[in-house]
């Protein structure tokens, strides 16, 4: 156990937290839990890998492509998921709609890298590692290595969370978002275009998660088909933190990252997952709506 492991935990926590924020963004106005959320993370990593490693572009055009991909991905997700949900009216329609979306997006990503096997891992674009402490890494708590990329990914997550929080609290659009989340029918009557709120939420959701994939890609070993794994991690984070809250998403993500990384490093590599699964089950029994969430009535 050393400071390097803690920073690694924060880094994973930031990634899970941003996937969790993606979940929350879509869930709030639609009550849909998007099983395709992890695919957006892979999209970000894929863009980073394609532009930086394969086409050797600079960082700025890559970020441009990333944002465009996020917006297009959001529009596509909105279409694929919300069309059947709106037509059906069944409260279970979201399950199969998002499962179908996950299948479609995951196979599209796999097809994009059809003749490539390996991880979507560009070189770190925030170079360098910081050595902390005087002794060799791990000899005491304060001896360890921190990579700049980890710090960068963590910082990106914090900035996005704060921005989102301020947006919700301070702007009139934020109020419209909260109203649409609270009661879509009444919001519609107040002149808020709930449909556009939903569309924007999907765009923000996919973009945020894609940014996480981009910022984390150099260290995160993901393949084109590993989206579902991150869907479950982000899902766990958002549930522990509480659906519908940005603070909860970050807190849940950090908690999962910490738990998993510490257990993996200190106890047993394969025990990490079982601890996280059990922690979620136990946490839900005592905090049925997460640490920061409010109970969802009527769902």
């Amino acid at each position: 156990m050393n400071v390097g492991i803690i920073v690694e935990a924060l880094y994973f926590g930031a990634v899970y937290g941003l996937v969790a924020l993606g979940f929350t963004l879509v869930f709030a106005p639609t009550r849909v839990l998007n099983f395709a959320q992890g695919e957006a993370l892979i999209l970000g990593a894929a863009v980073a890998f394609k532009c930086l490693a394969q086409w050797k572009w600079g960082l700025v055009p890559t970020i441009g492509v990333l944002l465009v991909a996020g917006v297009l991905g959001g529009i596509l997700s909105h279409f694929v998921i919300m069309t059947p949900v709106r037509i059906s009216g069944s409260r279970n329609a979201w399950i199969i709609a998002t499962l179908a979306a996950a299948l479609i997006f995951s196979s599209m990503l796999s097809l994009w890298f059809e003749n490539f096997s390996g991880f979507l891992q560009p070189e770190p674009f925030v170079a360098g590692t910081i050595k902390i402490g005087k002794g060799p890494s791990g000899s005491s708590f304060f001896d360890g290595q921190i990579s700049g990329q980890q710090i960068f990914a963590f910082a990106v997550a914090i900035v996005i969370m704060l921005t989102y929080d301020q947006f919700l609290k301070r702007t009139i659009y934020g109020r419209a978002f909260r109203a649409a989340a609270h009661d879509p029918d009444t919001a519609e009557l107040m002149g808020i275009g709930v449909k556009s709120v939903t569309m924007v939420s999907f765009i923000a959701s996919v973009t945020v998660t894609a940014i996480a994939g981009f910022a984390a890609s150099p260290l995160l070993a993901v393949g084109p088909a590993s989206g579902l794994n991150y869907t479950f991690k982000g899902f766990t984070a958002v549930v522990i933190g509480g659906l519908g809250s940005a603070k909860g998403a970050l807190a849940g993500g950090l908690l999962i990252g910490l738990l998993e990384t510490v257990v993996r490093n200190e106890v047993n590599a394969s025990l990490g997952n079982i601890v996280v699964a059990a922690a979620l089950a136990v946490a839900l029994l005592f905090f049925p709506s997460g640490f920061f969430g409010k109970p969802i009535e009527g769902h």
Binding site: R31, L33, V80, T83, P84, I87, S88, G89, S90, R91, N92, A93, I95, I96, A97, L99, A100, A101, A102, L103, I104, S106, S107, M108, S110, L111, E114, F232, F235, T236, V239, S270, L271, N273, I274, V276, A277, A278, L280, A281, L284, L285, P288, S289, P295, I296, E297, G298, H299
Partner: protein, 628 residues
């Protein structure tokens, strides 16, 4: 009149069973389905999935419990087969018994720990439990052999597979004993499931799915129903797992993880909460999957398989948003297969005293006018708001007792406290001389049934089914007799249906018996709710603002029904705004204002009371202006 066999709804299921029995023949004879044996095996694995999806249908389709852990139940049965059959050499019957018990136990446990969770959170808890099961399968290597899983599970189902059949015969009918055994088990599961759904227990499941408040008002124990439904669902899921493992010959975590797609596609595309939907959905999925894998392009590029499959599922979701079975049942195509409607003709209507015999008999016996429902000093606060401040009520047998008062005076809170949907901070409530029970379903069981202010009908089933659900407390049919359709079940069910029709006829809904509740007008819905409550054979009936939003004609019909019930021996507590209606039909009236009772008496006394006039119309100046 009612017992005669109606064959029309049975035509399609009989055709389906015939096709399944002849499937090996088809697979052997039709040229493009070759080799035949491969298609028989496809049939076997499809039937296993059918079983699994029926188990999900019980939990999700009927009881409304969002389950994301059915993959876990499948794995439970699969590993039971893998460990006990392959590694311990147990016979299949013992393995099945273990799987059923384990599935039921884990199902009951999962539901019991998440009783308070609403729809989505129930699903999330089940998903996390599923992850725990998945991790156990990966990590408990001594039993499960980890990620590799258990292979070479002996095919104990194929006890007579080794027997040589004449060559020509096996070409012609390339069946395996396994197919026939799995078919028999699956049909048994489907038929028992259908029998259960069309009985007291199945109606209780659906009542809980639609609204747990309504269910408990009718005396249904919501917690018990959830635990029972999920235990049953888990047991059948594990049973499917046993055959899954036997048929495939191996079990491992990744093959289990692949099952949610067929689970949800099968259930939701087929038709969730319908009797044939899961079967249709799974067969459709199997046909899709098989057809796709046979395509040349997919064989060249396997990655396109998932893209195309996802796309097709998505398009089907748009095409049949209610599921195939749901859309079919709502369409004119289904008309020839619907059961015959049975209506009660005028001359078949029995005398009111006979229909309401339970109330009439008790009313005749109790000549005393002692109050049967007494509330004394009831107080209830919500934060700083004192909704009730020492409210009192005394209801005598066989009277229509109205509770009236301006908006926000605490009428509904009072009723919620009496029926234990809310717990009073202070005060005592006595029902039939006993302290009131402490839960809504026990109050209902003690003979007090309430109707809610907002209509709480079960909209997706017929008017008669609504009334039958109301009979939950007094139905005398065990789960076993319902599943096996024993004669005792038939007698009870026929008597209930007969009485249900009579009650509907009594309320003037005789021609709406088989109509979906959702299709009734607002007034008819209110009447149906009263009938459903009466069907529970209450001695006290509490109606919360039944006349709200009704036309004057409908109010009149409601008044006639309420008076008929009173004359039949029921005691009625009526919470109402509509002063004219109250004055016309009540025997006695309690008037409330700001959480207190300000007047009690017969209608003429209340009309003369200055306190009441002030409460309704303000102070004297206004009264003077109105010329009062």
């Amino acid at each position: 009149m009612l017992g005669r066999l109606d064959l029309r709804p049975k035509i399609l299921p009989i055709i389906g069973i015939a096709v399944l029995l002849c499937w090996p023949l088809l697979a052997g004879q039709v040229g493009f389905l070759s080799p035949g044996r491969e298609y028989v095996d496809l049939g076997t694995s499809t039937l296993v999935s059918v079983m699994l999806v029926y188990s999900l249908n019980i939990a999700m389709g009927y009881a409304g419990l969002l389950s994301l852990m059915h993959a876990g139940f499948l794995g439970l049965g699969g590993y039971a087969a893998g460990y006990f059959a392959s590694r311990q050499g147990w016979p299949i019957i013992a393995v099945i018994a273990v799987a059923l018990v384990a599935g039921a136990a884990i199902g009951a446990f999962s539901a019991a720990i998440s009783l308070r969770a609403t729809y989505l959170y129930f699903g999330i808890i089940t998903l996390s439990l599923n992850n725990v099961l998945d991790e156990i399968a990966k990590e408990w290597r001594g039993v499960t052999l980890g990620e590799d899983g258990i292979s070479a599970i002996p095919n104990r189902v194929d006890v007579i597979d080794g027997v040589q059949t004449p060559r020509g015969f096996s070409q012609w009918f390339p069946t395996t004993p396994r197919y026939l055994i799995v078919l028999a088990v699956t049909l048994a599961v489907v038929i028992l499931h259908a029998n259960l759904i069309k009985s007291r227990s199945g109606r209780a499941f659906q009542a809980v799915r639609e609204s747990s408040d309504t269910a408990s008002a009718l005396g249904i124990r919501v917690s018990n129903v959830k635990i029972t439904a999920f235990a049953l669902s888990g047991a059948i899921g594990a049973l499917a797992g046993v055959f899954f493992a036997y048929h495939r010959g191996f079990i491992n975590p990744s093959i289990i993880a692949a099952s949610p797609l067929v689970l949800f596609t099968g259930l939701l595309l087929g038709g969730s909460g319908t009797l044939v939907g899961p079967f249709v959905g799974v067969v459709l999925y199997a046909v899709l999957e098989k057809t796709l894998t046979k395509q040349h392009i997919i064989e060249q590029h396997p990655l396109y398989f998932w893209l195309v499959l996802g796309g097709i599922i998505w398009i089907l979701l748009l095409a049949v948003p209610k599921g195939i079975a749901g859309s079919f049942q709502a369409s004119p195509l289904a008309r020839p297969f619907r059961p015959k409607r049975v209506t009660v003709a005028n001359d078949q209507l029995r005398p009111t005293s006979e229909i309401l015999s339970w109330a009439t008999s008790t009313a005749d016996g109790s000549a005393s006018r002692e109050p049967i429902l007494v509330a004394a000093g009831v107080s209830k606060s919500f934060g700083g708001i004192k909704a009730l401040q020492g409210a009192t009520l005394s209801v005598r047998p066989q009277e229509i007792h109205a509770i009236m008062g301006p908006n926000g005076c605490g009428k509904s809170t009072f009723v919620n406290c009496i029926t234990q949907f809310l717990h009073a901070d202070e005060g005592t409530i006595t029902i039939f001389g006993q302290p009131a029970a402490t839960s809504p379903e026990r109050v209902a069981a003690s003979g007090v049934i309430r109707v809610f202010q907002v209509p709480h009908l079960f909209e997706r089933v017929s008017a008669l089914e609504n009334v039958l659900t109301g009979m939950h407390l007094r139905a005398r049919q065990s789960v076993i007799s319902a599943m096996l359709r024993l004669p005792s079940f038939g007698r009870d069910e026929r008597a209930m249906r007969d009485e249900g029709r009579q009650l509907l006829r009594l309320a003037g809904l005789g021609d709406k018996t088989d109509e979906l509740a959702a299709n009734l007008s607002h007034g008819q819905k209110r009447l149906l709710e009263v009938v459903r409550a009466v069907a529970a054979h209450p001695r006290i009936l509490i109606l919360d603002e039944p006349a709200t939003g009704l036309t004057s004609e409908e109010v009149r019909a409601l008044g006639v029904l309420v008076k008929t019930l009173r004359d039949g021996g029921l005691t009625i507590v009526l919470i109402e705004h509509n002063v004219g209606f109250v004055m016309e039909i009540s025997d006695r009236i309690t008037v409330m204002e700001q959480g207190r009772v300000i007047a009690v008496g017969v209608p003429t006394e209340i009309q003369g009371s200055e306190d009441v006039q002030r409460a309704y119309l303000g102070d004297g100046d206004v009264l003077a202006m109105l010329g009062a």
